[in-house]
């Protein structure tokens, strides 16, 4: 069954678990550095390896970041909470358990407002955010595809073992209808932006700082009980999240149509095909035998600490967008275009550097975006906000017109230098020599007596017909405003 048909026939319910690696200096329970890269098995201590006699101690910064995330998601911060052992055998977990939180998470019951591309708002109910640690990395050797099947043995690097994570779990998200896939990816994108605004993580999807598990189930109608769900693990880009949700909706609908049952299981997403495949069914192995971690004492975040952290919360991305739209006087549509193009910060910085908001928006979403598109780069990789502000400054000073400014911009994007340098070096500056401009104007007037008559008759638009020849004579460097003034002065004078 196709996705489009599936979504008409069934009501999808999604649930999302997001793991974010915190950008602390050290791991959650030991003083090993929390850094990306470095030689294998070097960012570790006896505690990272779970060696006998080693004991964990909680990283204060990790707790602080978890509380900040909880507050930003509108959660209640627990008066008291505990860590728990989640027991399972897998070589990337050296202790044979993951230190996590079970029935006492640090943050619970919040919500996240998300805005879809067309401006539709949606509220995502958050069940909890809890602290835990990341696992090491396995490399499977001997298998053709690097996956487990067919592998002879595995190599383990524990550098990532113990890196602080916060896991954010939603309640079942209902009422998305045919926008389920979009809601899923926008939610994760919104969280990513919040993590960055809070400065608690680099939150780079491509480095695995943010990872999502996507639960999908279908039911006959919004009144029916929830259907059996599948959990697609580790979907690690916004596009993949959308594809995985769409694929699961279509796949489950096909099974249901054939009278088959959905198996509750974890599934894997394949980037290449956009499909998911069966991982392992939920089974006895999911009995994690959680129990309170005896090596760690309860955590009781004082209300003073929580309020102190609440006071330091930065403006969150959604609030910031609303505020800037007002200050800049952008319409909803203009603001969405800017946000969707990822140009909000660039425009904010350009305005800080002295440009008018409307001009900053025009250049970033216009010519800079066009050039970037050609080069298959992001606009901010091409030029800096300071350069765009400088370009706009040159236009305002009457040294460049829009056409010349585009030439300057192209050269700046090609790395020829700063706007003012490029303008001088290439001789693109608007002709200040009034003599040359006057000559061009006189020539144009002499050559076009019919146009002159129209202008005299009050048809001001006709001036445009004279601008062509004037621009041609001055190689595009004439200031259109000055030329117009001169034309009127000569005709009416």
């Amino acid at each position: 069954m196709k996705y489009e048909d599936a979504i008409k026939k069934y009501d999808p319910v999604i649930g999302i678990e997001v793991h974010v690696e915190l950008g602390t200096a050290t791991k959650m329970f030991d003083a090993a550095p929390n850094t990306f890269g470095g030689g294998p098995n070097t960012n570790i201590t006896p505690t990272s390896l779970g060696l006998p006699g080693s004991l964990p101690v909680v990283n204060e910064k990790g707790v602080e970041y978890a509380i900040k995330i909880g507050l930003a998601l509108g959660c209640e911060i627990a008066e008291t909470c505990r860590f728990a052992r989640k027991n399972y055998f897998y070589p990337d977990v050296p202790k044979d358990f993951q230190t996590s939180q079970s029935d006492e998470p640090i943050a619970a019951e919040g919500q996240v407002e998300i805005e879809l591309e067309d401006g539709t708002m949606f509220t995502i109910p958050v069940e909890r955010a809890h602290m835990e640690e990341d696992a090491g990395k396995n490399t499977h050797i001997g298998g053709a595809t690097g996956r487990i099947h067919g592998a002879d043995h595995s190599l383990v690097d524990y550098n990532r073992a113990g890196v602080p994570l916060v896991e954010i779990v939603t309640h079942p998200i209902t009422g998305t209808g045919d926008r389920a896939a979009e809601v899923a990816s926008t939610y994760v994108r919104t969280l990513r932006d919040i993590f960055r605004a809070l400065d608690v993580s680099e939150a780079r999807m491509e480095q695995g700082n943010v990872r999502a598990d996507v639960n999908v189930s279908l039911r006959e109608s919004p009144d029916a009980p929830l259907g059996t769900r599948t959990e697609t693990k580790n979907v690690n880009s916004f596009r993949s999240i959308e594809r995985a949700v769409r694929y699961e909706i279509a796949r489950q609908a096909t099974r249901l149509e054939a009278g088959e049952k959905i198996v509750q299981e974890t599934r894997h997403f394949h980037e290449g095909t956009g499909e998911t495949s069966s991982g392992r069914p939920k089974s006895d192995a999911d009995d994690y035998r959680y129990f309170p971690e005896p090596d760690l004492v309860p955590l009781v975040p004082s209300r003073d600490w929580v309020e102190e952290l609440r006071a330091t919360l930065p403006e969150l991305p959604a609030q910031k967008r609303r505020r800037l739209a007002g200050v800049w006087g952008f319409s909803d549509l203009e603001m969405r275009d800017v946000v969707n193009a990822g140009l909000l910060e660039a425009i904010e910085d350009t305005v800080s550097a002295g440009a008018k908001p409307a001009a900053a928006r025009k250049w970033w979403t216009g010519e800079v975006a066009r050039l970037a598109n050609q080069k298959e780069q992001h606009p901010t990789e091409l030029v800096t906000p300071d350069q765009v502000a400088a370009l706009i400054g040159l236009i305002n000073d009457g040294k460049l017109n829009d056409k010349l400014a585009k030439d300057v911009l192209t050269a700046v994007a090609d790395g020829e230098g700063e706007p003012a340098e490029v303008m001088s070096a290439r001789g693109l500056e608007i002709v200040e020599d009034t003599g040359a401009l006057e000559a061009a104007v006189e020539e144009a007037i002499a050559a076009n007596p019919d146009v002159v008559e129209k202008i005299k008759g009050g048809k001001m638009q006709a001036i445009g017909a004279l601008m062509g020849p004037i621009m041609k004579a001055t190689r595009g460097q004439a200031d259109a405003g000055k030329a117009k003034d001169l034309i009127l002065a000569k005709i009416n004078g």
Partner: protein, 101 residues
């Protein structure tokens, strides 16, 4: 001994399999009995602990033991791998992982 604290051989078998411990029929039966006795003895605590005594997970009344986020001493790769049964390419080498992912 109350009904709820009785442990069945099936429950022991389940726990043994989760813990990767192989056990025979006899062991499962005798351990079920032992565990039932241990649980019922521990359950006596409920008789003396009133509603005003909260459940605790730690023998010492301590909370908020935290450390500053400062990097400390780490192991070298050689030290880390010194006690490993097998290693390759500066990593721990473990047997093939079967049937799970």
């Amino acid at each position: 001994m109350t009904e709820s604290s009785a442990i069945t051989p099936e429950q022991v078998e389940h726990l043994a399999s989760l813990s990767r411990i192989a056990m025979g029929e006899d062991e499962l039966k005798s351990l079920a009995g032992d565990l039932s006795t241990i649980l019922s003895n521990v359950a006596r605590v409920n008789e003396v602990a009133g509603d005003d005594v909260p459940a605790t997970s730690h023998p010492i009344a301590l909370s908020n033991v935290l450390r500053p986020d400062v990097v400390g001493e780490t192991l070298t790769n050689e030290q880390a791998l010194a006690s490993a049964p097998a290693s390759a390419d500066e990593k721990f080498l473990v047997p093939q992982i079967l049937g799970e992912e």
